[in-house]
């Protein structure tokens, strides 16, 4: 059936030890593998309830940034089908053979109109969640940190949001759930999904190739409050929240990892069917679209990216 969810986000950081400490102790992810090979020095992280090898890879680099993000397809033949469609759209596709990339099998990589490298993968190695598959308890006691069960979505910037959104709709079969239009009717934010959620990826007008944030799921608004308590305890810079989005209706808190990459934990939303009508936000309500309680966009949220 094609793409069915976000698989992993691959970012860079200048201090891998600091990244490891923050993402395990504060965010509460598990390290599934550390490598130092032709692809550089990297750490692979996963959430406690994820069975796949990783949802986040951090590569050592002098600069903070994003290497690529990967989506998962649910049929091995989908890679070939997408390769043909993407090439028909005039975009070159690079095949990555099984064994070339850590934690996963064959994949395809290509550049989307917003300048980001995107990857599609079918076979992400199963390493198992923290719960057994026979008579499991519903929880893992004594998880460290915020401990989200899984990754949820990412938001990236694009100079031309409509161009990026059209590529995702026409070539990758994403569905547009919500959009923000400026006074001239130009699309400046687009929310797109493949997993019956408000978004798996969103584009906001800005710098091509930039990452705004990636986000982890929490089951409950109360867990967003608990995340805020833990962030304050650890002295992590909170960008905004706990608050509510107008767009997606989700409950949220944003914060920065020690290197400056923005993180989010997110709960709520809704379940759009493929025939769900797109919701439109107009420019006069842009503040409320982004932060429903505050009704205004903070300057840092609008401008800071990696």
């Amino acid at each position: 059936m094609g793409i069915f969810r976000l698989s992993h986000v691959d970012i860079t950081a200048p201090d891998l030890e600091l990244a490891a400490a923050y993402y395990t102790e504060v965010l509460g992810l598990d390290i599934s593998e550390r490598t130092d090979d032709g692809n550089g020095e990297r750490i692979f992280f996963k959430c406690w309830d994820e069975r796949d090898h990783h949802c986040l890879a951090i590569r050592h680099d002098t600069r903070v940034g994003i290497d690529r993000f990967a989506f998962k397809v649910d049929h091995p033949g989908d890679l070939e089908a997408f390769e043909a469609r993407i090439e028909r759209a005039g975009v070159p596709v690079q095949r990555v053979a099984a064994g070339e990339e850590t934690g996963q099998g064959e994949s395809i990589r290509f550049e989307i109109p917003s300048g980001h490298e995107m990857e599609l993968v079918y076979d992400v190695h199963k390493v198992g969640g923290r719960l057994p598959l026979i008579n499991p308890a519903p929880i893992v006691p004594n998880l460290r940190g915020i401990a989200p069960p899984r990754i949820d979505h990412l938001l990236v910037q694009a100079e031309e949001v409509p161009e990026a959104a059209r590529f995702f709709q026409d070539v990758l079969d994403f569905r547009l759930t919500e959009q923000l239009l400026d006074g001239g009717g130009h699309q400046t934010i687009a929310f797109l999904e493949r997993s019956a959620k408000p978004h798996d990826i969103a584009f906001v007008q800005g710098t091509n190739g930039a990452l705004h944030h990636f986000s982890f799921w929490l089951d409950d608004w109360d867990h967003v409050r608990r995340a805020a308590d833990l962030l304050a305890y650890h002295g992590v810079t909170i960008d905004i929240g706990p608050t509510r989005h107008g767009l997606t209706r989700g409950s949220t808190i944003y914060f920065f990892d020690p290197m400056g990459t923005r993180n989010e934990v997110f709960s709520g939303g809704y379940r759009p069917d493929p025939d769900f009508p797109t919701i439109t936000w107009t420019n006069d309500r842009a503040g409320r679209a982004v932060f429903y309680y505050e009704g205004v966009l903070n300057e840092r949220f609008a401008s800071v990216h990696t």
Partner: protein
Amino acid sequence: MSSPGILRLSHATVRVPDLELAVAYYAEVVGLVVTGRDSDRAYLKGWDEQQHHSLILQQAPTYGLDSLTFKVVEEDELDRLADRVTDAGISVERFHPGEVAEAAGATARFRSPSGHVIDLECGQGQVGNGLSLINPPPAPDNLIGMHPPRLDHIFLLCEDVDGVTAFFQEVLEFRLTEQIVADDGHQLATFLERTHTPHDVAFLTGPDGGFHHLAFWVDEWNDLRTAADTCAYHGVKIDAGPTRHGATRGCGLYFFDPAGNRNEVYTGGYHFDPDDEPTVWTEAEMGRAIFSYRGQVDQKFMSVHS
């Protein structure tokens, strides 16, 4: 690319001897929205659903389940799935839009090996969720009762759980997420999904055609407490909860409608990938699979059905 197949549980048609009383209960206590009414039927939906109905109340001399309906998004998928059912030796009856119910789409009807009447439907009428598609607030401000946003799953009884589970997996393309396996190796209960949630439909050993409960989604655990308060306030009989399930890891509250049909409001669970392995519960742990806190099989819960 593989075929989209069944999207999700669309609705259930439930028999009630006193239609007025049932409508009052489902509209004011559960807090569903009434979208249609004729002499012997009422149509209801969760407030956030776009479709015309997720519950049809059918006036009848007794209580129980008339039929359950799964949503199929593409018309040619309806043909393909109907052919698969026919090829499995089960006769399929086709209906035009509007024929089986108000606002109904094209429908393929058959009797499952478990004795339940199952409809596959494509193109049910959409009525919207009551919110504007331009700058919507996160929820309407006039919600009453438990007001679940949408339907979640249905739990059925049948004599041969192994047989119907194989039918759902092989013919209807469902995925098995969890199973309770008896010491002699046969399946006592199975959980099946099409939406990457722990279950859209589940089967428990019992009489063919039996109806255990219909469950509506609420967003979080705190909503289950509100639902329990609502039940207690209205004198609605609570069967079990608020509590936690071992199987699905969800949290639920069970109660009965005035006719004796069991309802649930449910939240939590997890995301299930198509390539994830199912969880197995052994017979000795069946109590904990059903109610994680109590840990014992509740005879009333297991034996009372409609």
